[in-house]
Amino acid sequence: MVTEDDVLKFISTIKNVSTYNFTNYSEKSFKRRAEKLLVDYKTDINGLMYRVSNDKEFLEQIVRDITVNTTELFRDPDIWATLKYRILPKFKKNKSIFIWHAGCSSGQEIYSMLILLHQLDLFDKAKVFASDINTQMLENAKKGQYKYRFNLGYLDNFDKVIKENPYNYDEFKEVPYSQYFDIDKAKDIITMKKFLRDKPVYRKHDLVNDGNIFYSKFDIILCRNVIIYFNNKLQNSVIELFSNNIYRNGYLVLGAHESILGSVSNNFDRTKGLYKKKPF
């Protein structure tokens, strides 16, 4: 059992020996992650703090363990249908589209976006940036390889977003999976095509400390199911960062059950589960 006191001590230990600051992470979920660490490493809170203080590599491993990396291809198909039919077509006349996947995890959301852009003939004009605090996840994202059988839902989601049109049930476009990824059933692996894998620029990025590291503003920022792990204060500062770096009339895409709280919400209009930066 980990007490609130233990958690505070643990957080301040990490803060003292590194740039990582978990002070404003959501209390309950951080506590649960800490409890899991004790089980996984068969240690107690003092043992954990000792190792974190004396072993840099272990510290990095702990940071990777603390982050939650759940994601999937076209998670919440409705949101992707909105992007496909209502949002992305607005950028057809632009010379370029700047997109940032903040907290991209193992990359499924990046590939969802790339496939969609390709379907809409926007692939070449898109500049796609992706970041995460977890370097292992960035490597996984670059690799673009996922389990096949465990992720059969990916194919359902692909069909819903790419082949079907929720606004017109008579419409059906046959798009072979092989255009975007190879399925190896024997090895139980899905591999994204090279032209997709080569597209994004990947950088390690900590939403707590780092500002905009890409030297560009963005038309669309996606940050899905990341800020649920932050408290109100940190949520607001992250949304503030996004708000300052989205072009007017650009979009912020959060998780289906995340919302913007506090005064920074005045910078956005909520439309169909997406946030549009106000034009003034």
Binding site: T70, G153, S259
Partner: protein
């Protein structure tokens, strides 16, 4: 009011039971009702709409950090764990499934037990796995009331039987008796 929150967990075979229970609760029912139900992977949306047709109380799937209000029904969103935090706010998370389930009934029940102590009522319904047994135990240990649907009435009795062996439950009731119990709380 002696009690503040009711939390209902269910899995396979529970949908009709839940529907009956929430349909029977009147519009001005004063307690907060949490629903934590497993759903089939491909049925992720439309669930809250289906329930809201039957419910008289307002029902919604909460967003992260939404305040918890009285007189409302809250359904754990598909593919998220749902917690109630001190200060009466929701917290959602996409951490790994627990007992192969997300939402996990155990996690939701434990957070309600921690938050409401003896003012909580936990109810476990029909289901095909053991999720919920530890959660109901947490409700009981915190001084709340533990109820399970009568396994004889359950389409799939695994979940209720697991709960009964994990903790000394207060009541084993049929659907109609559960409804009567909840209405008599007022």
């Amino acid at each position: 009011m002696e009690y503040k929150a009711i939390i209902i967990g269910g899995s396979a075979g529970s949908f009709q039971v839940v529907t009956k229970i929430i349909a029977a609760l009147p519009k001005n029912y004063p307690l907060t009702v949490f629903l934590c139900l497993h759903r089939l992977k491909h049925i992720r949306s439309g669930f809250v709409e289906a329930l809201s047709i039957k419910a008289q109380m307002p029902i919604e799937e909460p967003n992260d950090k939404d305040p918890v209000k009285h007189g409302r029904i809250y359904l754990a969103p598909a593919n998220y764990h749902m917690y109630v935090e001190l200060g009466n706010k929701f917290a959602l998370s996409t951490e790994d499934p627990v007992n192969h389930s997300r939402p996990s009934i155990d996690l939701s029940f434990e957070s309600v037990a921690y938050n409401y102590n003896k003012k909580a009522i936990g109810i476990i319904l029909s289901g095909a796995n053991r999720d919920g047994a530890m959660g109901l135990k947490a409700i009981k240990n915190a001084g709340g009331i533990a109820i399970v649907q009568d396994p004889k009435e359950c389409q799939v009795p695994t979940m209720t039987s697991a709960s009964i062996s994990a903790t000394k439950v207060d009541y084993i009731l049929k659907t109609e008796e559960i409804i009567k119990f909840l209405l008599n709380l007022r």
